[in-house]
């Protein structure tokens, strides 16, 4: 039965396309979710008409299963429509309501043409399932877009937040900002080791001024990084240990072993220069002044 309902519905929509569209647009214009600030009536009408045409074509193929191949164009249409609306600033429910509001004109159309009670309910049920599924799909598309943005930003943040800078020939610095978890440790380690290979640096300063807390886990990750750098032939100095952090480290019983630690990056840099056989001296003009 449902297939004959879809084909009949398709013919009905085709024949009364203008009326249905008019009703639908009228519904949308009076709806609470209308956003005249984001889209004018003309655009709304165009979007509605495109969607209605796509919907009718998919129905004409006689397939009530929206996962079928006949519905692919409708899915594509929804994807671009949902993306466009999300960008314009529509909320997911406003976009979904756009699709849901098609129910009313379709119900009206069906009711005006079909008199048999059984067929009437069959048709209403088919319309409801179809439109509901399509409406929910817009929300899903919205959600997927959001998720992909979050994943991408996480990735970018991870890369941005772990720079390796060259302080001097043979001296690298890794200013760590934020909590050190295993994923970040991995990135820090890879970046640092690669830079050691590229620059031939012999000393790396890991600055933890921006690390809010150091617990056993963070210390473990730091030590791992230091061990890996040592295997590549580079010595590491930990700098930027705030007084509270020093206390925490001792209270927790974290064993930093033979790793040299300094209070500030400047101290660590001085040590690094001394180890490289360099020194910083005031110039003549500064000495006079």
């Amino acid at each position: 039965m449902p297939d004959s309902v879809t084909s009949r519905l398709s013919t009905l929509i085709d024949r009364n396309a203008a009326v249905v569209l008019e009703n639908w647009v009228r519904h949308q214009l009076t709806a609470r979710t209308l956003r005249p600030d984001l889209m004018n009536e003309q655009e709304l009408r165009k979007q509605s008409s495109t969607f209605l045409t796509g919907f009718q074509r998919a129905l004409a193929a006689g397939d009530a299963n929206i996962d079928g191949p006949d519905w692919v164009p409708v899915h594509d249409l929804l994807a671009s429509l949902s993306a466009g609306r999300a960008e314009a600033g529509y909320t997911p429910s406003q976009t979904a309501t756009f699709v849901f509001s098609l129910k009313q004109p379709l119900f009206d159309l069906w009711r005006s043409e079909v008199t048999d009670a059984r067929q009437l309910t069959d048709g209403l049920w088919t319309i409801t399932t179809l439109v509901d599924a399509l409406g929910l799909e817009t929300t899903e598309i919205h959600q997927k877009r959001r998720n992909s943005i979050i994943v991408r930003q996480q990735q970018e943040l991870l890369e941005l937040s772990t720079p390796v800078v060259s302080l001097w020939e043979g001296v690298l610095a890794v200013p760590l900002i934020g909590t050190l978890d295993s994923a970040r440790t991995q990135v820090v380690m890879e970046n640092l080791l690669q830079r050691i290979v590229d620059t031939g640096a012999g000393i790396a300063i890991i600055d933890i001024t921006g690390v809010p807390t150091v617990d056993t886990m963070v210390a473990q990750h730091l030590l791992k990084t230091i061990a890996a750098a040592r295997l590549m032939g580079a010595d590491c100095i930990i700098s930027g240990i705030r007084p509270q952090i020093a206390q925490t480290i001792v209270h927790l019983g974290v064993e930093l072993g033979t790793v040299s630690t300094k209070a500030t990056l400047a101290d660590a840099f001085a040590v690094a220069l001394r180890r490289s056989g360099l020194s910083v001296q005031p110039t003549a003009s500064a000495a006079q002044g």
Partner: protein, 128 residues
Amino acid sequence: MDRIPILKMGRFLLVTIQVDMHDRLALALQDDLTARISETGARGVLIDISGLEIVDSFIGRMLANIAAMSRVLDAETVVVGMRPAVAITLVELGLSLQGVRTALNVERGMAALEASVEPVGRHDRARH
């Protein structure tokens, strides 16, 4: 069976690992190297592992063992040219090769050895 060549460079021995190590090869290297150290009286061993792409816990332990054996024979070991991926793997395996000296490349490793065994060099050569 193929073996890893051990080259004598002055007072030091140079071992360049260019192939992926398998366990038999590693054991053969241990035998050969200890024999060469006692034979030549070498004061230092450079192990260049820049060609090594894959390590497992056995190879990691073998590197530590070789260093320990050489130390017993009064030769210092420097492992040079470790790749970043290899270093990360070893650390993840919990093998940080404590007690093994490391350097970025052969040149640096050689300089480190020179610096650490310098004082006894002249005396040593006179003996032979």
